[in-house]
């Protein structure tokens, strides 16, 4: 599955990109900027998950379900098992979201288009409702997450940043390996013609289910990393429908052209949000909305298409 993958340009560029972001974030930039990079990298994972679904024309308006589930899995593991180890945290977040995706996938895989999109949203609203009521998890106030450790030592902010970079690189490798595989190519094939895929002997529902679980794992991982990075989980910033909306927003803004696009898009989004708050605390949504409009009108392929135009080593989409 991973044969020769480190020789692929997409992966080499990806690793270089993550290195630069991490170095900028830890050595050069002031903390507020560095935070934007860190959050952008983390949330980029969830956007990558959405992008992988989107390549089959499946849009989920409720991906905060997995994002929040991953984050709360970290919170619960801390509360009940005392887990603060960062490796365990990310594994728990991914596994919890993956498991939920696997179970719900049996329902979701039968739906397409708007039904698929809204069904995800419905599930995320159920989770929001449960969490907002769950007093043992702090209801609407949420819970605070203690600093992450690695092998018993406190990781610190920089350490966590490196760790996030490491997780992102692994995810890029995994996502690329998936998309270049026969199973990954079914992604576009299913979008084009489901009947043909069935007549080639593969179950469309199964292919979608696999993809859905991968997507859920990525979103859960993002939630787990964000819980660690923010030191806090709460329903409003992790599971509310507007969080799902933001993820969809960033996916459109980033474009589907490349697996790096979600990370570029997510970092960019953190910056516009920061600036929008600063310039127009009352009307920051207007600025964000305006940005999306501008991108839809002038860059329909998303931010990534801008890179492709100026890319010195042009590369086919992957």
């Amino acid at each position: 599955m991973f044969k020769g993958i480190l020789k692929e340009q997409t992966i080499q560029v990806g690793i270089g990109f993550v290195f630069i972001v991490v170095l900028l974030g830890t050595f050069i930039l002031p903390e507020w900027m560095s935070n934007n990079f860190m959050y952008g990298l983390s949330r980029g994972l969830a956007v990558l998950g959405l992008m992988i679904l989107w390549r089959t024309n499946l849009v989920s308006f409720g991906h905060a379900l997995y994002y929040g589930f991953g984050a709360y899995a970290v919170a619960m593991a801390q509360k009940y098992l005392g887990v603060t180890d960062v490796f365990l945290r990310i594994i728990i977040a991914i596994a919890a979201a993956g498991l939920l995706g696997f179970v719900l996938g049996f329902i979701l895989r039968r739906y397409r288009e708007i039904f698929f999109a809204m069904l995800s949203l419905a599930f995320s609203m159920v989770l929001y409702g449960l969490l907002a009521k769950a007093e043992f998890l702090g209801s609407t106030d949420g819970m605070s997450i203690s600093p992450s450790t690695m092998f018993g030592f406190e990781l610190g902010r920089f350490g966590l940043f490196y760790f996030i970079g490491f997780v992102v690189i692994l995810s890029l490798i995994f996502a690329h390996a998936y998309l270049r595989s026969s199973l990954g190519h079914l992604t576009t094939a299913i979008m084009d013609n489901e009947i043909r895929v069935e007549y080639l002997g593969y179950s469309v529902e199964k292919a979608i289910h696999i993809k859905y679980v991968i997507s859920a794992c990525l979103a859960g991982g993002a939630g787990g990393l964000m819980a660690a990075a923010l030191g806090q989980v709460d329903p409003d910033s992790m599971v509310l429908w507007s969080v799902s909306g933001e993820l969809v927003f960033v996916t459109i803004m980033a474009g589907l052209g490349n697996i790096l696009a979600p990370f570029v898009g997510a970092i960019f989004f953190e910056f516009i949000r920061t600036y929008a708050y600063e310039f127009a605390p009352q009307a920051w949504q207007m600025i964000i909305g305006g940005t999306l409009l501008a991108i839809i009108f002038f860059l329909p392929g998303g931010l990534w298409s801008l890179f492709q135009k100026i890319n010195p080593f042009k590369k086919e989409k992957k």
Partner: protein, 248 residues
């Protein structure tokens, strides 16, 4: 040794909210036979193909393949047991290249389970794919996006994608419609000779009687959902009913 019966239908019937599209279809096909299905527009040819390959569920009656009942199976189950098809309106992956289309078909036919997680552009498969594209005379177009191709070429690709699954029985729905007159025979020569070599049983729907005469062992003529004649081509094409309802 008697030649094995591969496909048999008994009293197959299909109706769509009152409209009868297939009625009393009783056929028996022997292994390795090449059969031509003829009939005017709306005679029920496609409905018949659709029932055998699991796209439509018969209203009543049964379909037996190699002695086991396959009535109402799913398309992908049909593919798994070796019942494959091409389509009257080609069903290919429009936004992908010709080669990607065939590569997907080949890797789904040849790989399973975790092998499907390996990169699709495997060297051996790719070479084999080029060979087939050459055979079907669409090698020059291999890197073109399918939606830019002519109907005829899509048809060829569609057939190639069904054939790489190495079916035991192959149903082709109007393989040469949309293909230019000059190319028709060339294509059928390629397709039929390859399938004969592998001993594949073929049923194909065809409007061109020259093609039918040249390639088939037996003709089934459809009219208003029923088979009105089931005979070798020489005999069938002279049959009064066939002349009146199919050729007329």
């Amino acid at each position: 040794m008697a030649i094995k019966e591969i496909l048999k239908t008994s009293n197959l019937q299909k109706s769509f909210s009152g409209i009868i599209a297939a009625e009393d279809i009783n056929i028996s096909v022997k292994e390795g036979e090449i059969i031509g299905i003829i009939g005017a527009n709306g005679a029920g040819k496609t409905v018949f193909v659709n029932m055998i390959t699991g796209y439509l569920k018969p209203t009543s009656g049964t379909i037996e393949f190699n002695g086991s009942d396959i009535t109402g199976i799913k398309p992908r189950e049909a593919t798994h047991i070796g019942v494959c098809r091409s389509f009257q309106v080609s069903q290919v992956f429009m936004s992908m290249t010709v080669k990607q289309n065939l590569m997907i078909a080949m890797s789904l036919a040849k790989k399973s389970g975790s092998q499907l997680l390996n990169p699709i552009d495997d060297e051996n498969l790719s070479k084999e794919c080029d060979k087939i594209l050459k055979q079907y005379n669409i090698i020059k177009q291999k890197d073109l996006i399918v939606s830019t191709l002519s109907q005829g070429m899509r048809k060829l690709l569609d057939i190639a994608m069904a054939v790489v699954g190495e079916p035991k029985i192959l149903l082709l729905d109007e393989p040469t419609s949309g293909v230019s007159v000059e190319e028709k025979f060339g294509i059928m020569d390629i397709v039929i000779s390859a399938l004969k070599k592998s001993g594949t049983t073929v049923l194909f729907v065809e409007h061109d009687m020259e093609i039918v005469e040249r390639y088939v062992d037996r003709v089934m003529a459809f009219y208003q959902g029923q088979i009105i004649c089931d005979a070798p081509p020489k005999q069938a094409l002279k049959d009064k009913k066939v002349i009146q309802y199919v050729l007329g």
